[in-house]
Symmetry: C2
Subunit: 209 residues, 2 copies
DNA sequence: GAAAAACTCGACACTGTGTCGACTCCAGCC
DNA sequence: GGCTGGAGTCGACACAGTGTCGAGTTTTTC
């Protein structure tokens, strides 16, 4: 995940033993999260996976949630991946929206339990709450701006305040992906639904009987 | 909440001491839930509120979540309240949808923490998961049927499978209400958004500039 | 090769949950 | 009146998971 060669090499210090242990904890966490939900994972397991004692774990992280925060930061860049063309564009640009949603769906497929666990832990864990709020805000703000632009251009109908609508879309995405066993199978339907929420029914989707 | 007069009366046994204690536990739970989230409530507090020892609590309920389940069942009737006219009707019947959402919003206003706590506990607590699934299914099924009917009648445009669309609408409601500090303030916007998800933009909401 | 830092761990304290068995209380019955 | 059995009560215990502390060992640095 770090991408460095595994050679500690004699000369020039590579990652210190501590760095390796820290990575081992993170790797163990990722691994366990692929198999069970966050709150079924104990610090014991995390420590065992990194081959250190439970007390040593605390040398590296303050708590289980601190590990989650670290994993989350590793994800920060990926969350908004490919959303640019959609968020910065204008009008019902279906392909751009689909690309944005496809990237998000892939993330939920790979990191679903991490995201689910983080979401569940957010109330009661300020750092995670902040991460979540920051991410959500980034999306909501740009999407709201886009909606306002489209309305001003007469491309989108009036309705709920852009910000409220954007929040609902964000909520819907999160809820739908969190509940789905196959996030990627949801993309096409989400595309249609989001476009409807913003623009109403597009001509191509109209039906007569 | 039980509705009986408070007189234990000399003759004819009223509720037994145990029944009263059970009610006291439920009342304490409701009370605490109005002030803090479920997982900040301990069995100690519940027992103290009912003026019994912690071990005695277990005479009445198997666990904290069993109390939640009991509270939830007390709510079962209210959740779908006033949804009938909307779910059994046809076409974009905005007033009916609004009444249905208003009733739901009132429930979230009064029981938000209970619902939030139950939702969070559902994975990992089969009885709660079943309650949630049953309720959701009841809504989704009727809504999906309604959407299918409207499409067949040419009133609603085609799009995602009725069931999928109904699930998204259910998810959106839950997510929006769970996140809102003022659920009732969301009703009008939800009405517009849900109608759009099903029917597209209605004439009255079109804008030209 | 000695001081400092990085690291490790066992032992402990704490919180919350759930169980067990002994005890009390009270109603109904001989 | 005294007996019995079920309802209700509780203290003591066992357990899991978390987090802390201080005494050790290893590694780095000069």
């Amino acid at each position: 995940m770090i991408g460095m060669s595994t050679a500690p090499a004699g000369r020039r210090r590579g990652p210190s033993k501590g760095d390796l242990r820290e990575q081992a904890i993170l790797a163990t966490a990722r691994d366990l999260l692929s198999r069970k939900p966050l709150d079924a994972i104990t610090i014991d397991e995390l420590a065992a996976g990194a081959e250190i004692s439970r007390s040593s774990f605390y040398f590296y992280f303050d708590s289980k949630l601190a590990v989650v925060v670290a994993l989350l930061h590793g994800l920060a860049g990926e969350v908004g991946r490919d959303a640019g063309p959609w968020l910065d564009g204008a009008g019902p640009d279906e392909p751009a929206l689909r690309r944005s949603l496809a990237a998000l769906a892939a993330l939920w497929r790979d990191q679903g339990r991490l995201l689910t666990g983080a979401l569940a832990a957010a109330p009661g864990c300020p750092p995670i709450a902040r991460w979540r709020a920051w991410l959500r805000e980034a999306h909501v703000e740009r999407l709201a701006a886009r909606i306002a632009r489209d309305r001003a251009a007469g491309v989108a109908p009036h309705g709920p305040a852009p910000r409220v609508l954007a929040e609902m879309i964000d909520d819907l995405r999160t809820a739908a992906f969190a509940a789905a066993s196959d996030p990627e199978g949801l993309v096409d339907d989400l595309v249609v639904v989001e476009l409807r929420m913003i623009y109403g029914v597009l001509p191509a989707h109209h039906a007569e009987g």
